[in-house]
Structures are given as structure tokens and as C-alpha cells.
Symmetry: C2
Subunit: 315 residues, 2 copies
């Protein structure tokens, strides 16, 4: 044994990542594997257990606790993942009890957006700041808000679904029940859908085969100068800005950290985004809040999940 | 002397109210007077000083501190009111230093929405709750958010301007810089303006004289069955609901407390408001968050201002 560590686990729709993190924030060892959700939660749990055992024995540490950040929704109190959407078959799966039983340490379960924000706040782009808002723009839009090193939670301890704030009532109906929520207008899915709609009736380098059009291709075509793709990205930037202005008004963070696949195209959004924020900064200095990119990449989840377990244990 | 008390002061656009409040939250004595802002801040300060002296001598207490809630914006650090909008001539007026000098006690300055929320959280409709969102709908829309008995503040300690979140980009341009912010669509001013616009071209019991049409008259006409007024109030309720859904998603309070003149017509909005919230509760149980009316009336400001001073002093 070379010391002690906390295990951080990041469960996504595709992969699960497991790492051993010291109390000082050093990553000793990490492993990942496909989550293969369709094989069922029992197989997934066995895979996660094996990864933890590998990491602990490779790092040669004694295990203090386990923190998990999972693609939501999760029930923190029950330690259960309630997510048949991006983890098919994982509905009401108690993940905390079996791991607690097997390893004999406390297990903490959190939303993945919250732990990524916690990781960036602890060791990444938000280090040293009191109020950190992390915005993930990918297939959907999610947020995590960290205040004084703690996850901001709402009534009954629930996680704010910031991607589903209404932004334009003339927008499309989302599964959340709102017309024109932020996610339905500015996520990667929304960008792809709007481009496919326009491509049906207008010439574009994207072609008109809907299966070939997604947010990544739209960004590439916009970079190559395709007018339709440019329009789609500008609209995305405008709506990204409107939803962000609302988040800035209510949370007033010291800094915003962006992450997620769509944010690889940040340069295409930036002018529109900053212009929208500037326009809306009469009442509060929203335009002075720095916008940064995440610094920890895929490790944010491992660090943040480990940190969540440390906080739960009071260390 | 019968004990000690903190002075709470509520400065509005029309009146200033001053009260002596014990540490246990008992109001010993209160006085008010017109603020008469146009006579200048020096006259106002003298009036406030005289009211404090009256209250202290009537209550026969020793003075522990002074808390002020003022119609915003205020600079808490400087103790200065920056408000030429609803307090004409009161621009960059240092109110804390002269009162501190005269009375020899600490002086705390806060935004009026924040102290009203703090008062309701301490002694009113939000008593005993961890997270309280207060929404004031009157001439404008303002919010105050209290978490664990403390005012929620943003970066640099500033107050969230929740009335200016963008709600419908096809809405009117507001002085805040946004099109269709919450205040521009659901405040009393917005309700009056929309009714005046419709009344130009459509028959209504409101008549067509714009000077005779304001939110209060629209509410009366809606109650009397005027179709145009009913439509205007329904639209107000819809937008009130959309902005509220956003606040609920991000703050996830244990309870919402409404106050302000427009909320005297709450019965006319309620169905539309609850329907909007219900529709948008798929991702988070927003429809389970209780909506209540404020309980302290005009005394919320005095109690909250006194409480702010107590918190500042650590008592």
C-alpha cells in the first residue's frame, strides 16, 4: 500500500471511467470500458466492480470511498440510477448498495453534470473561484453550478435541469413539456434538426440526405463557407446566448466553463454569443463574467466524482 | 431603556418606513413619511434621521445597528444608493456613512427585493424553509432568493436582476437591452401597455383613452367579463408562468412567495400560471413547489432590513 485514495467513477452513455484520486487531487491510475448498457445493469455493475478492483490494486492504495457521476437522472438518496434514456435498461438501478456491500466503503451518487463542474472547480478551469457555472452543450444541454466548492442543489436536493428553461415560446415542443426550451434550440440535436429542415428546400453543401446532416457536419460546412450552414450556426449562437443570459442573470457566476461536443465549434458561436450577452448587460455586468473552456477534459468526471465522495465524508 | 433593537428602514419610491425590531423579531414601533425624492437626498436623509430618532425614543431602546432596504440599484460596498429612476436626484448617494456617523452604529444597505424576501423568510410566509424565492410583480418585476436564511448574491456580491431574463425574443425591447424580458411582458406596466395597444383597434369596456388604461383597470374589466381585458390578463398569466418556470428550474426553491400590486389580481392569473408550470414539470417536479402570497405586507421590508443588519453583525 502506498497510501489511500477515493475512487471516482464517470458513467456515460457509451463508456464508464474509473480512477483512483488522492485527497490532494492526484490521479494515480484510471481505466475505462464500454458501459454496454443493453446487456443490462447486472453486467454493467460487474464490469464497474472489476474496474475498481483493477484500479485499486494497480494504484496499491487503501480505499476510502467511492463517488459516482452518472448520466442523469439519478436518485441521490436511494443511490439509484433512473435513466432508461441514455442508459437503456438502467431504470431504477440501485448502484450504491452493491458497491457499498462489496467494497465496505461509503458510496456517493451524483448527476454527471454536477460532478464535472465540481471537478473543474476543484482542479480545473474554475479553481479558486467561489461561483462556477459549467454548461455542457452536446446532444443535450446540461448545467452544473458550484458555490464555494459545493454542488448547488434545489428543493429535495435535486439537480437543476438548466437545459430546459423556456427560451423562445415559438420554438419546437421538447420532451420536457416546454416549447422552445434552451436544449431544443441550441443543442447539437437542435442544430442538426434545424439544418435538416432547411436543407429540404434550400441548396447547401450539406446535401439533402437527412442521415448525413448533424451538428458536426453543419459546423464543418459553416467553416467552408456554406451560407445555409452559417445561418444555422448563427441561429444556434443566438439561442445559446439567450439561454446563457438567463443563467447569468439568475446565477451570476464568477466564471462560465463550457464543455461538450458542440463547444468544439465555439469559435463559430462566439461573436453572436458575446453580442447577445453585451446587449443584455444594462442591468447587471453580465459581459464581465469570463467565458472559458473546460480544462480537465474527460477526467473532470472522475475528479469531480471523487471530490463528491470526499465532501460527503467531510474531508 | 427597555432593551435593545435594530432599526429596519424600507426606502421606496414614495415613502420611507422606519421600525425598531428586537433580535427576536418583535416590531416595537414604526413610523413613515413621504420620501419626497425631488427635494434632494439631503432633505431625505434629514427626514430619515428624524424618523430613526423618533422610533428609538418612542421604543425606549438602545440602538444596535441600522439596516436599510432601498429601491435599487444600490452599491452595498459603498453603502450608496444609485437610483435616479424611482428616486429622482438620488444618484450615487452615500446613505450609510452619514447615518453611521450620526448614530455611531453599523449601517447595512441592501436591495429592497432582497430585504423583503429576507423578512418573509425570517418571520413571514417562508418561515422555516431553506430556499425561498420571492417574486414582486408591480410596476416592474423583481426577485429575491434566500438560502438558509441568507440573501443569495452573485459575483461581486450583486443582486440578481431576475425580472430581466429573456422570455420571448419576439417581445418588446426593454431598457435592459433584451427583447421580451420577463418584466417587459408580465409586469403591471407591460399589462397596461398591451391593453392600450389592443384598445386602439378593438372594442373594449376600457375605452380607448390611453390615460385611463392601466393594469388595475384591466384586471377590473377582466373581472367584469370584458373579452379584451380577459385576453390581456391571460397573456400576462402565460408570460408570468414562462418566466416563473425558468426561475423554478434554476433556483428550485422550497416555496415561491408573491407580492406586489399586480399580485392582487392573482386569481385572474392563477389557472394559466399553474397550467404553464404543470406542462413544464416533466424533468423536475416544478408543479410541487408551493406558490404563496406574502404574509408581512408592508412590514416585510422593515423586518428584512433589520434582519440584514443582524446578519451583518453576526447576531
Amino acid at each position: 500500500m502506498s497510501g489511500s485514495a477515493v475512487i471516482g467513477i464517470d458513467i456515460g452513455g457509451t463508456n464508464v471511467r474509473v480512477g483512483a484520486v488522492t485527497l490532494e487531487g492526484r490521479l494515480l491510475c484510471a481505466r475505462d470500458a464500454p458501459i454496454a448498457a443493453r446487456q443490462g445493469p447486472q453486467a454493467g455493475l460487474e464490469r464497474i466492480t472489476a474496474l475498481i478492483e483493477q484500479v485499486v490494486s494497480t494504484a496499491r492504495v487503501s480505499l476510502l470511498g467511492i463517488g459516482i457521476g452518472s448520466t442523469g437522472p439519478v436518485d441521490r438518496q436511494l443511490g439509484a440510477i433512473q435513466n432508461p434514456y441514455t442508459l437503456p435498461t438502467w431504470e431504477n438501478v440501485d448502484i450504491a448498495s452493491p458497491l457499498r456491500g462489496h467494497f465496505g466503503v461509503p458510496v456517493t451518487l451524483e448527476n454527471d453534470g454536477d460532478v464535472a463542474a465540481l471537478g473543474e472547480s476543484w482542479l480545473g478551469a474554475g479553481r479558486g473561484l467561489s461561483r462556477l457555472l459549467m454548461v455542457t452543450v452536446g446532444t443535450g444541454i446540461g448545467i452544473g453550478y458550484i458555490v464555494d466548492g459545493r454542488i448547488f442543489r434545489g428543493t429535495a436536493g435535486i439537480h437543476p435541469e438548466g437545459g430546459h428553461i423556456p427560451v423562445d415560446p415559438s420554438g419546437p415542443l421538447c420532451y420536457c413539456g416546454a416549447h422552445g426550451c434552451w436544449e431544443s434550440l441550441a443543442s447539437g440535436t437542435a442544430i442538426g434538426a434545424y439544418a435538416r429542415e432547411l436543407a429540404l428546400s434550400q441548396p447547401t453543401a450539406l446535401g439533402s440526405d437527412p442521415e448525413q446532416i448533424d451538428a458536426r457536419r453543419v459546423a464543418e460546412a459553416a467553416r467552408a463557407g456554406d451560407p445555409l450552414a452559417i445561418r444555422v450556426m448563427q441561429r444556434g449562437g443566438l439561442y445559446l446566448g439567450l439561454g446563457l443570459v438567463t443563467n447569468l442573470h439568475l446565477y451570476l457566476p464568477d466564471c462560465v466553463i463550457f464543455t461538450g461536443g458542440v463547444m468544439h465549434s465555439y469559435d463559430l458561436f462566439e461573436a453572436g454569443l458575446r453580442d447577445t450577452i453585451r446587449r443584455c448587460s444594462v442591468m447587471s455586468p453580465l459581459d464581465r463574467i469570463p467565458l472559458r473552456m473546460a480544462a480537465l477534459g474527460q477526467q473532470a468526471g472522475i475528479f469531480g466524482a471523487a471530490r463528491a465522495a470526499m465532501i460527503e465524508a467531510g474531508s
